[in-house]
């Protein structure tokens, strides 16, 4: 054959080959059942019940159908199946699905309490090994059955998983993804924890009378030892946990003022009002003590808001005994001053800062007590810390770490800097002479 002919033939054959070859992995978008939320439970006989929430794309973008105006339907639907393992459940579920199961867009995985208490190790192997699942998906745990959580229909946003994901991202409690959980499961010196989410009732409105109205509610943190759930920490303590793992919460915390323990005596403050004027009580009706707001149940409160927090951890070894020192640094902004503190006076700030630091320390200590004494789970990763800083010591401690953890001395200290006081200096409701120091 002439050279050009041969080349031409080769190209034609290659072209045919390409045309015939491909299409192994072809799947059209509208042949996919896209799952975005997964709930895993344990049945009584130890099998896995997997519930998946699927998106209905046409409902999302074209609500009510073209021209039909038949009213808003849910843009999702839920299916569940029971299997021995996760992929087993998936393939059983496929038998009930008209489209191909597509799990790559699952953003949150909910674990039921039963399953968590029995141990999440086996499930986690599936979660990390299956190629389609994203290991950046967040994991949460819930009291009771996880599949119930899938029925919530939050009002804001059409997809429940968006609402759930957004709640988790509010930085109230630390969030854990499959990847981070897997690292914690594999490492010896740390126990995992995951946020705990439940359902909360929404107030019914006229429009929604009778309609199911449940929202997601962040209820705290689930503490694990090894791969088993051992307890829940409520939201208050969960914030201490956040501090102890260096993911400072972006939240407000209220402290009483003056503090119960009393303050060192304040410096005398010159007053520019005459004694007579100070005696005038214009506002309080008879029978009530002086000053605004004294009728409230808990009037003397100051609320700081943590803007930034940084925690440093140190280990100290003395006579073969190791101790951990935790020091938290926070920058706060005062958002409410019901106690009438005079915030324009710089001398007022240091005691305030000390008191705020004490409240953070209290929170951390409470969480530490829960973890050390009640649950005996090293969710803070102190074991890992010792391993990183003192590897030889760790080699002795690791065999029986939880016993050591129970006795581990942890010194907590905090330091707060109040940088700003919101938009106002002094409270607008107090007259100058009513201000405390």
């Amino acid at each position: 054959m002439a050279r050009t002919d041969r080349r031409l033939w080769t190209m034609v054959l290659c072209g045919l080959l390409l045309g015939a070859a491909g299409c192994y992995d072809r799947v059209e978008l509208n042949e996919l059942a896209i799952a975005d939320l997964m709930a895993i439970d344990r049945t009584e006989d130890g099998r896995l019940k997997v519930s998946l929430q699927f998106i209905i794309p046409s409902e999302l973008t074209n609500p009510g159908g073209v021209g039909a105006g038949a009213g808003l339907k849910d843009p999702f639907y839920i299916m569940e199946a029971i299997g021995e393992t996760l992929p087993d459940a998936f393939s059983l579920l496929q038998a009930k699905l008209p489209r191909r199961l597509f799990t790559s867009h699952i953003r949150v995985v909910v674990l039921g309490e039963d399953l968590a208490r029995a141990g999440i190790g086996p499930v986690f192997d599936s979660l990390t090994r299956i190629r389609e699942l994203r290991i950046s998906a967040d994991v949460i745990v819930t009291r009771g059955e996880a599949s119930i959580l899938l029925r919530a229909a939050p009002r804001l946003g059409r997809l429940p998983v968006s609402a759930l994901s957004n709640i988790l991202n509010q930085q109230i409690v630390p969030v854990r993804s499959i990847r981070e959980l897997a690292i914690a499961l594999v490492s010896e010196g740390i126990d995992p924890f995951v946020p705990a989410v439940g359902l909360a009732q929404r107030i019914e409105t006229e429009l929604e009378a009778g309609v199911r109205a449940q929202e997601f509610e962040l209820q705290g943190v689930g503490i694990f030892r090894g791969d088993r759930l051992v307890g829940f920490a409520p939201l208050e303590l969960a914030r201490g946990l956040a501090w102890l793992v260096d993911e400072a919460p972006f939240a407000a915390a209220t402290i009483p003022w003056p503090p119960p323990g009393g303050l060192p005596s304040p410096p005398l403050r010159p007053s520019d009002l005459s004694p007579e004027e100070m005696m005038i009580q214009r506002d309080a009706p008879p029978g009530f003590p002086e000053g605004p707001g004294q009728g409230l149940l808990a009037p003397n409160k100051i609320t700081p808001m943590v803007l930034r927090g940084q925690v440093s951890f140190h280990t100290e070894v003395k006579d073969g005994q190791v101790a951990v020192r935790v020091h938290a640094r926070a920058v706060d902004d005062i958002v409410t001053n019901q106690a009438g503190l005079d915030l324009t006076d710089p001398a007022v700030i240091p005691p305030l800062e000390r008191e705020l630091a004490r409240s953070i320390e209290q929170r951390m200590r409470a969480m530490l007590r829960l973890a050390q004494e009640e649950l005996n789970a090293d969710v803070f990763g102190f074991g890992e810390l010792i391993r990183k800083n003192h590897p030889q010591l760790w080699r002795e401690l690791r065999r029986d770490w939880h016993a050591h953890f129970r006795q581990l001395p942890v010194h907590i200290s905090a330091e707060v800097k109040v940088r700003r006081t919101g938009l106002t200096g002094n409270p607008t409701i107090f007259r100058p002479e009513q201000l405390r120091q």
């Binding site: 192994y24 992995d25 190629r131 290991i135 950046s136 490492s187 391993r387 800083n389």
Partner: protein, 386 residues
């Protein structure tokens, strides 16, 4: 055309070697080294530096002694006709086997990550096809492909690192040297199987205009590859910690984590595309080395017609010689390092030693642009022009 007729400048050589050696290393190495050295795996490339530099040095000295000649040309001269040809065939076998291993890795990666149902044979065949077409155009075209490819690949690498930054936790790298130096050295030995692939220089250096400059460029390429490997290991380890050894391709997972985290940037397909490109380039370079060595060992004048058949054979061997991924990884971790050292270090060093002892070759130091100096009493070329 004899390789010495092609002209690559040292920059092109470096930029060809970087993806030509680094692309599969970046993919698969962190997992293997992490299996040995755990969180100290990032030190492995540094431990492999001396030996790889030695490989470059040996190849450089050989090329300086025998300018304008490939290994296949001067090995018979140095060792005698039959042993020399045997060495040439051994080197050819090394390139061929390596090429097949790369093709296998390429196919496995593609099938595992992007195309689960596609038969691996097809993926390997496509990669081989692209490589063969590239090789047929000649080494200059390969070098130019490298020129185009490397800067963008480097930028992408940095982009992945940047995107993954928020998921990185540096403390996962501690404690340093927890189990001592030995695991690091072992994983360094494993890394040497990859970074020692500079033995390619035996075939490429004759095409560079200016052997000393080419050798310097190779050192530079080694430095860049080592730095990239260290960076990739550090990033993988700080994102996955102890999980790193569990993933087959940890840096790819890092790319996925990073891109799913950031809201706007979905560069994962881009990254996979570039990996495909880089691995095809590596396939092409090694296929070229194999074909050249084969042709010139057997004394064939024209090497171009051999490219497609060799490529087909290589793909067939790639599919056939291993049963599954598990075998592949075991081979990479345990069999491959000592096996490749024979070809990367021992074989060229042996030839150099014999050449030095016999006082053969041109021992004059060459300036940066001197090409084919006529050797005293010896022919400058082993083969006639073609």
């Amino acid at each position: 055309m004899h390789p010495t007729r092609a002209r690559i400048n040292p920059w092109q050589l470096a930029v060809l070697l970087i993806p030509g050696i680094g692309s599969t290393a970046v993919l698969g190495l962190p997992a293997i080294t992490a299996a040995f050295a755990r969180q100290d795996a990032w030190m492995a490339p540094l431990a492999a530096l001396p030996a790889s530099a030695l490989v470059i040095w040996v190849c450089g000295r050989l090329a300086a002694r025998f300018p304008e000649e490939t290994f296949a040309d001067y090995a018979p001269k140095v060792l005698g006709k039959l042993p020399g040809k045997l060495c040439g065939l051994l080197l050819f076998w090394y390139f061929f086997h390596l090429d097949a291993a790369i093709a296998r890795e390429f196919a496995d990666f593609l099938v595992a990550t992007a195309h689960p149902r596609t038969p691996a044979a097809l993926a390997a065949a496509l990669g081989g096809l692209a490589a063969a077409v590239a090789v047929r155009h000649g080494p200059e075209i390969l070098a130019r492909l490298g020129e185009l490819f490397t800067p963008i690949a480097a930028a992408l690498l940095l982009a992945i690192v940047g995107l993954a930054y928020s998921s990185m936790d540096g403390s996962l790298l501690k404690p340093v040297l927890e189990h001592g130096l030995r695991p690091v050295l072992v994983s360094g030995f494993v890394t040497q199987a990859f970074t020692g692939q500079f033995v390619l220089l035996l075939v490429l250096l004759p095409s560079v205009n200016g052997v000393p400059a080419g050798v310097k460029a190779s050192y530079g390429a080694l430095a860049v590859i080592a730095a990239a490997l260290v960076l990739v290991s550090v990033v993988s380890l700080s994102v996955f910690g102890p999980l790193t050894a569990n993933f087959v391709w940890p840096f790819f997972k890092v790319a996925r984590v990073g891109t799913f985290g950031a809201v706007l940037a979905r560069i994962e397909p881009l990254v996979v595309g570039f990996w495909i490109g880089g691995t095809c380039l590596k396939l092409a370079v090694h296929l070229y080395a194999a074909v050249i060595t084969f042709a010139y060992t057997l004394g064939l004048r024209h090497w171009r017609p051999l490219v497609f058949p060799m490529g087909a054979l290589m793909v067939a061997y790639a599919i056939g010689h291993l049963n599954n991924l598990v075998e592949h990884h075991r081979m990479l971790a345990h069999f491959w390092p000592p096996y490749t050292q024979v070809f990367q270090l021992i074989l060229p060093a042996l030839v150099l030693l014999v050449a030095a002892v016999r006082g053969m070759g041109d021992r004059r130091e060459q300036g940066p642009n001197e090409g084919g100096a006529i050797q005293d009493g010896k022919e400058a070329r082993g083969h006639g022009a073609d």
